[in-house]
């Protein structure tokens, strides 16, 4: 085959530009840390990348949702704890007041203490977290209890519709953040009011019956607390699952589109020497012709 100067120079120019192109691609990869900069370079990586990215965003969001659940559950737990210890104190005082050895004054003092505990439980039932009444189900903007004698509980506490302040913890799966709104029901405050009144009036009739009612109230509160504890456990499990999901999602995303630095840098230096060789050979080839040797 006949080879001419213009062929040689066109070929070496093309080869140099090809190898420079490869250098640029590798440089891009190393600088950006990504395998591709355009979807056409690898459509599969690009499509998977979009999917994994959304997936990671979702997992991160669900993780953020969990903090709201923690907030509600921890505060509910603290509230029930406080209310239960109040009710326990009332039970003690009731047992104490039942004794006929008590004077009118002593019973009046008991009544005053119970009145304070009642106020306290009203305050607990109206606990606000971030401006929301957390013991009123999803009806967070209205107070659960109105102070009075006896304090009045909102009429909708037994409505199952509001017993569901739920938070999404993964796609389509929700967790209830609130405790049953009827935990603090009218009966709670009626019992407290009745005990307070009987003590104030030094009336010992029917105290046994009140004790039974009080025990029922305490029991139902305890069982709600147990339920909340179980739910907290579930929350922790969900949390650890989401944590590991996040790690997985990050790993998959990175495996898919992050460049393998060792490989990329090795290729870069190989390509660099190829490029140097192409340059020096090209430069030598196109310099000489027969003219240089003719006298």
């Amino acid at each position: 085959m006949r080879v001419t100067q213009s062929m040689v120079s066109a070929n070496s120019l093309r080869n140099i530009s090809n190898s420079y192109n490869k250098l640029a691609t590798l440089n891009n990869q190393v600088a950006s840390g990504k395998k591709i900069t355009k979807p056409s370079e690898d459509p599969v990586v690009a499509m998977k990348g979009m999917y994994y990215r959304s997936n990671l965003n979702q997992v991160e969001q669900y993780k953020r949702n969990l903090s709201e659940l923690h907030l509600w559950m921890d505060n509910s737990e603290a509230g029930i704890e406080q209310a239960t210890s109040g009710l326990d104190r009332v039970r003690e005082l009731l047992l104490q007041g039942k004794n006929d050895t008590n004077s009118i004054d002593e019973r009046a003092a008991i009544s005053k203490e119970i009145a304070q505990i009642k106020e306290d439980i009203v305050n607990v039932a109206n606990t606000q977290v971030n401006g929301k009444y957390i013991f009123h189900g999803s009806d967070v903007s209205n107070a659960l209890v109105t102070a009075g004698s006896p304090p009045q509980v909102a009429g909708n506490v037994t409505d199952p519709a509001i017993n569901n302040y739920s938070v999404e913890v993964s796609q389509g799966i929700t967790m209830k953040a609130n405790i049953n709104p009827s935990t603090f029901n009218q009966e709670t405050f009626n019992v407290l009011q009745d005990i307070e009144d009987k003590m104030a009036n030094n009336d010992t009739e029917g105290l046994d019956e009140l004790l039974v009612r009080l025990d029922n109230v305490i029991n139902s509160m305890n069982s709600e607390r147990a339920e909340l504890g179980a739910r907290s456990n579930r929350l922790e499990m969900v949390e650890s699952r989401i944590d590991s999901q996040e790690v997985m999602a990050n790993k998959v995303l990175s495996d898919n589109e992050d460049v393998d630095m060792e490989v990329a840098i090795t290729q870069l230096s190989v390509q660099e020497s190829v490029h140097n060789a192409a340059l020096s050979v090209g430069a030598r080839l196109i310099q000489t012709s027969l003219i240089d040797f003719l006298r």
Binding site: M50, S141, A161
Partner: protein, 515 residues
């Protein structure tokens, strides 16, 4: 008997012929870097031997050579390689333009990234999730409104940018059309010049080169077939004649005549009624429906990027298809989102009773209602109700109707994950998958175009290499030739001296013997 001065004449012929060969070599060297230049060579041929046949021919033993003459100056070129080169050239023209258009589109869509449409939808979904866990938080509501706006604006931005690419493609259509017609007119000019020179027995090598360069250029735009018609008169056998160029499809069927012997037919791309797409191509009086225009080349690719009326009467094209997909995404998502949003109860509705409040709106319709799919991605915005009050964003189920109920926010956030008929073709998919599909198919087309661009460019270079191997100037070869012709020239001159000495012997030295 030969004449006394025959030796002088033979040597003179040698001088003249070697000189013309030497000048042609000089011309080759001078044009070593000229685009489209084909190396030339002088056809040296022997002159008729002496004596010639005849009754009065001198009876001498044998026929003697009388020297050399320069027959003609011809180009060293293979037309078969030209045909091959042009066929690769049209493929290269097509794929080069197509890969550029798709690469522009990829840059605009900017996926996968942390700032494209997918990312903007993700952050809208996140804001809905934040509102769902805390529906009374007006900060979360404000974020939902802003992110909703940003989804709308992302759609608007993408639609408008792709549309402006389409306008650029429209300009390119005009430029391409003009470029083709300029080439056709140049070709006709060159044809005319060739037609007036050839009958005089000359080979207009420079014009042939010019014509081949124009044909190479023309072949980028579409597949062409070139035939030659003799220009008559005393044209030499090597004369190429006038080029007749026809536009052919990929199977070689003639679609129309671009250049005849004496004139050319103007090529025109005809738009449809509302000037949004190309409907047909006309060459002179011949009109070709764009769907029958199966001639690979840049022309076809610019039409495909800009848009054409397909067999169903719909406008199709690289940019138009993407615009339609953006409309599909925006329209379906906004419609489904509004459906849920209208059912639910917002804080304002909890006070004033349930009204159908929509979240997204069409900025061009009088009441904001979303009814027209085409171009909706450029018009999607959030509704006036949402703009006027954050408390118009729904949260509650109408049957529960409390401020703290977030079941409808969850429903809204689930829309992005639910399956709908996005493409209006009875196929169900969710927003992310559908969008991934759109980006994926764009990426695959772009990848194909990039690969084919690289392939056709390699093939064209291979053919070009072969062509250069035949036709381009090799300086080493020209230097060798130069020395060869120079030495022959010197030798011929020496021959004259020798003949002169011989004549000196007979003229001045003869008949003086014995003096």
């Amino acid at each position: 008997m030969t004449s006394t001065f025959m030796g002088l004449e033979t040597a003179r012929r040698g001088l003249v012929a070697q000189q013309s060969a030497l000048y042609t070599t000089g011309n080759n060297i001078a044009n070593a870097n000229t685009t489209g230049y084909t190396r030339q060579r002088v056809d040296l041929q022997q002159t008729e031997g002496f004596p010639s046949v005849g009754t009065n021919a001198p009876k001498i033993p044998g026929q003697m050579g009388t020297g050399v003459e320069a027959g003609s100056v011809v180009r060293v070129r293979e037309t078969f390689l030209d045909t091959q080169y042009r066929s690769e050239s049209s493929k290269l023209g097509y794929w080069e333009n197509r890969s550029n258009a798709l690469s522009d589109l990829e840059t605009i869509m900017n996926e996968p990234s942390d700032s494209g449409l997918a990312a903007s939808m993700d952050s809208f979904w996140e804001s809905l999730q934040d509102l769902a866990v805390d529906p009374t938080n007006s900060g979360a509501r404000a974020v939902v409104r802003q992110r909703g706006m940003s989804v709308g604006e992302t759609f608007n931005y993408l639609y408008n940018t792709v549309s402006s690419q389409k306008i650029d493609a429209q300009n390119e259509i005009g430029v391409t059309e003009k470029a083709v017609n300029t080439l056709l007119s140049q070709l006709t000019q060159v044809n005319k010049q060739i037609g007036s020179i050839e009958p005089n027995g000359y080979l207009p090598n420079d014009l042939y080169d010019q014509r081949d360069t124009i044909l190479d250029e023309l072949s980028k735009y579409a597949k062409i077939k070139v035939t030659y018609e003799p220009s008559g008169g005393n044209a030499l056998a090597q004369a190429e004649g006038k080029a007749v160029v026809s536009l052919v499809d990929d199977n070689g069927n003639v679609l129309g005549n671009l250049v005849d012997k004496n004139e050319y037919n103007e090529l025109k791309l005809d738009s449809n009624g509302d000037n949004t797409a190309i409907q047909s191509i006309s060459i002179g009086n011949t009109t070709i429906d764009i769907n029958n225009f199966e001639s690979t080349g840049k022309l076809k690719s610019v039409v495909e990027s800009y848009g054409y009326v397909n067999t169903n009467g719909q406008v199709s094209g690289i940019f138009d298809d993407m615009l339609a997909e953006l409309d599909n995404l925006a329209f379906t998502f906004a419609t489904e989102f509004n459906k849920v949003h209208e059912e639910g109860m917002s804080p304002n509705e909890l006070k004033n009773g349930n009204q159908a409040i929509s979240f997204f709106a069409d900025s061009q319709s009088s009441d904001g209602s979303i009814t027209v799919r085409k171009g909706f991605a450029s018009r999607i915005t959030i509704s006036e109700d949402i703009k006027s009050s954050l408390d118009n964003i729904v949260n509650s189920d109408p049957t529960i109707a409390t401020l703290g109920d977030s079941s409808y926010v969850s429903k809204l956030s689930a829309i992005i994950n639910n399956n709908y008929d996005y493409g209006n073709n009875s196929e169900q998919s969710n927003f992310r998958n559908y969008f991934e599909g759109v980006i994926g198919s764009m990426a695959v087309s772009a990848q194909e175009a990039t690969k084919m661009h690289a392939n056709s460019s390699t093939l064209q270079q291979t053919v070009d290499n072969k062509r250069m191997s035949t036709s381009s100037v090799s300086l080493d070869e020209e230097m060798t030739n130069m020395i060869q012709y120079q030495q022959a020239y010197n030798a011929a001159a020496r021959m004259i001296s020798i003949t002169d000495e011989m004549l000196d012997t007979i003229i001045n030295g003869m008949g003086v013997g014995g003096r």
